[in-house]
């Protein structure tokens, strides 16, 4: 006996995660454009350095030169080529941003979901910890740490940014897990004796996939801004090539007022802003792909 009419639509082919991501990126124009921008900037920062001659000598005769055939984006205070500095200076801010966001989201997902699912003592301790961290102003903490240790590494900065931005996300993930765990499908999973780990990570968290993903993107943006902000304040060591450092140097020497020296501040700034816009456009489109209901529209 076939009670139910045959399904109207033929079943979707099984989808892997990669194909879902690809579909998410190509589902609309702005998402695709965002993904292209993000990939180009990542390529510039991480593949670019291997394609160019990294030798960039100082030259006292070429201070703040305008763009020319020899120096496509002009030169800086030391007469170094701006384009080479742009290509070499992207790796650190982008990496710090991504690492800080991974730490923030990772801490928030684990602490928030465990606290929200188990409640009790774990929850009390987790809440106390997040409340304490929330009272520490992140930027002040970083100011103190950077003045204490002049040679603070990029990884350490990422950890500080990540840990100080996690608490807000811990609280919101905890709240959502508390609400989702009362849903009947979670009870159904308990009836199958699936175990707490599986229930949290395969039943509950995928329902918040879009939310977590968007927060990951926002955390990258915040971390990049925090890093660049600290460079702009002159708090971080001026050793390696870095977009934030370029902005600081241009600002500090007053060169941003020279039209011929404008690329030295404008190009890193534009790349940072473009990267952020690209991420946001891409994430809105990917978020829809993570929700099976919105996926097929």
């Amino acid at each position: 006996m076939t009670v139910n009419a045959a399904p109207e639509t033929t079943a979707l082919p099984r989808q892997g995660t990669l194909s879902i991501i690809w579909q998410g990126l190509t589902r609309n124009k702005s998402g695709f454009a965002g993904a292209v921008i993000v990939l180009l900037i990542l390529g510039l920062a991480y593949i670019g350095p291997f394609l160019i001659d990294r030798h960039n000598p100082s030259d006292g005769a070429k201070v703040w030169q305008a763009p020319s055939a020899e120096h496509l984006l002009g030169t800086n205070l030391q007469g170094k080529d701006t384009l080479i500095k742009v290509i070499l200076g992207g790796a650190e801010p982008l990496w710090v941003g991504i690492l800080a966001a991974l730490i923030a989201v990772g801490v928030a997902v684990v602490v928030g979901s465990v606290a929200g699912y188990f409640r009790g003592k774990v929850d009390t301790v987790a809440l106390q910890l997040t409340d304490i961290t929330l009272t520490i102003p992140g930027i002040v903490l970083m100011l103190v740490l950077t003045t204490m240790y002049r040679s603070i590494s990029a990884t350490a900065i990422a950890v500080i940014i990540g840990v100080t931005t996690a608490p807000v996300l811990v609280r919101s993930i905890r709240a959502q897990v508390m609400s989702l765990k009362e849903r009947e499908f979670v009870e159904a999973a308990r009836l199958q004796n699936l175990g707490a780990g599986r229930i949290i990570f395969t039943e509950i968290l995928p329902n918040m996939g879009g939310y977590i993903f968007v927060n990951f993107i926002l955390a990258i943006n915040n971390a990049i801004y925090a890093l660049v902000g600290m460079y702009l304040l002159g708090l971080l060591p001026s050793t390696a090539d870095n977009w934030g450092l370029m902005i600081y140097e241009s600002w500090n020497s007053g060169a941003f007022r020279l039209p011929r020296a404008l690329p030295y501040i404008a190009v890193p700034l534009a790349l940072i802003i473009l990267f952020q816009i690209g991420l946001v456009a891409m994430s809105r489109s990917l978020e829809q792909a993570l929700n099976p209901r919105l996926r097929e529209r």
């Binding site: 079943a11 979707l12 009947e184 999973a189 009836l191 699936l194 995928p206």
Partner: protein
């Protein structure tokens, strides 16, 4: 007296599931709410027990405690003679597989981000009952065929939102079957479906009962459904957290003894207008259900009961005592009259 065994049953003779003196009191801001106060019931393997009663009478609370989803505040739930809350991990796993629960709302009981295949096989994969993707797919397809969702292949990769309510509920039943259960606790599992779909799902469940020998604890507020599904089984009528009448379905439906059961049966709609007009109804003295936080003294039904007498009814709570060989009843007046009638004839 509640039939509490003095000697613990050996697993061979113990019923599949036994609720003894089950109590569930919820602490709320308005005070303690005794949702279930002393329920003694048992379900034998392959048998059907129907719990009926109006909203808020504690049917669902009883069912959830029986399924091990909540911990009762008093009494015990025993699976094959063992208290489920004193079980070790291995025993609990055995109970967990044997007793499955089907939720009322098929729109809430399936995870929206998982496909039918993934929902059906989560337990099988976790407990290593299937190896590899191919085997999992075959197992899921077999389960869908058992609940008459065919062709199974076309449903496996669908998400819940692509299915109708009836189809979802069948998937939920299939998921419960994946554990190869001995007892299915169905909590109003058909009440959210259209009438036509309801009957076909009831037939499917009946098929599982007959073909696979699955026992059922069937919770419903609809006596017609109870009569249709549990004709060979038993009905327990609940009122304000207590069982007031319990017996074989034909007896309870055709010859109700408790005034509350009579009122419930009189309230069932009669499609034939001639019969409907001739049907005599016993009016209740009040349609209002007393609040669980302020239960009436004595028999909790006495403010609404057409038979209530001053004396026992408003002072002493009646116990669920055997009326004849197969039926139990909690009513002072009917029990007394029954004894008097038997004395008269005997």
């Amino acid at each position: 007296m509640p039939e509490t065994p003095t000697i613990p049953d050996s697993p061979a003779t113990a019923p599949l599931l036994r609720l003894s003196g089950l109590e569930q009191v919820f602490d709320t801001k308005r005070g303690k709410v005794p949702a279930v106060s002393g329920v003694d019931l048992k379900v034998e393997a392959g048998k059907v027990l129907c719990l009926v009663g109006e909203s808020g009478c504690g049917k669902t609370t009883t069912a959830r405690a029986a399924a091990g989803l909540t911990r009762p505040t008093g009494g015990s739930v025993e699976y094959l003679g063992h208290d489920i809350h004193r079980m070790g991990a291995a025993e609990w796993q055995e109970y967990r597989e044997a007793v499955q629960y089907i939720h009322q709302d098929p729109y809430a009981s399936l995870n929206p981000v998982r496909t039918v295949l993934s929902s059906l096989t989560a337990g099988l994969r976790k407990h290593k009952k299937v190896k590899g993707r191919h085997e999992a797919r075959q197992a899921a397809a077999r389960l869908l065929e058992q609940v008459e969702l065919t062709p199974a292949e076309s449903y496996l990769d669908k998400y819940p939102h692509q299915l109708s309510g009836g189809q979802r509920q069948r998937v939920a039943v299939a998921r419960a079957l994946a554990m190869n259960p001995k007892l299915l606790i169905a909590d109003e599992s058909t009440s959210m479906l259209d009438v036509s779909i309801r009957v076909s799902l009831l037939n499917t469940l009946g098929g599982l009962r007959d073909d696979l020998g699955v026992g059922f604890m069937f919770i419903t507020h609809d006596l017609a459904v109870a009569k249709y599904f549990a004709w060979d089984g038993e009905i327990a009528v609940m009122y304000l957290g207590k069982v007031v009448e319990h017996g074989p379905t034909p007896q309870v439906i055709n010859d109700p003894q408790h005034p509350y059961t009579k009122a419930l049966i009189a309230a069932v709609c009669e499609p034939d207008p001639r019969l409907a007009r001739s049907k005599k109804t016993i009016p209740l003295r009040s349609a209002e259900i007393p609040s669980l936080t302020a239960l009436p003294s004595g028999c909790t039904f006495h403010p609404r009961c057409p038979l209530a007498e001053s004396g026992d009814c408003d002072t002493t709570p009646p116990t669920l005592a055997p009326l004849d060989e197969r039926r139990r009843l909690a009513c002072h007046v009917v029990a007394r009259d029954h004894v008097a009638a038997q004395a008269g004839t005997g």
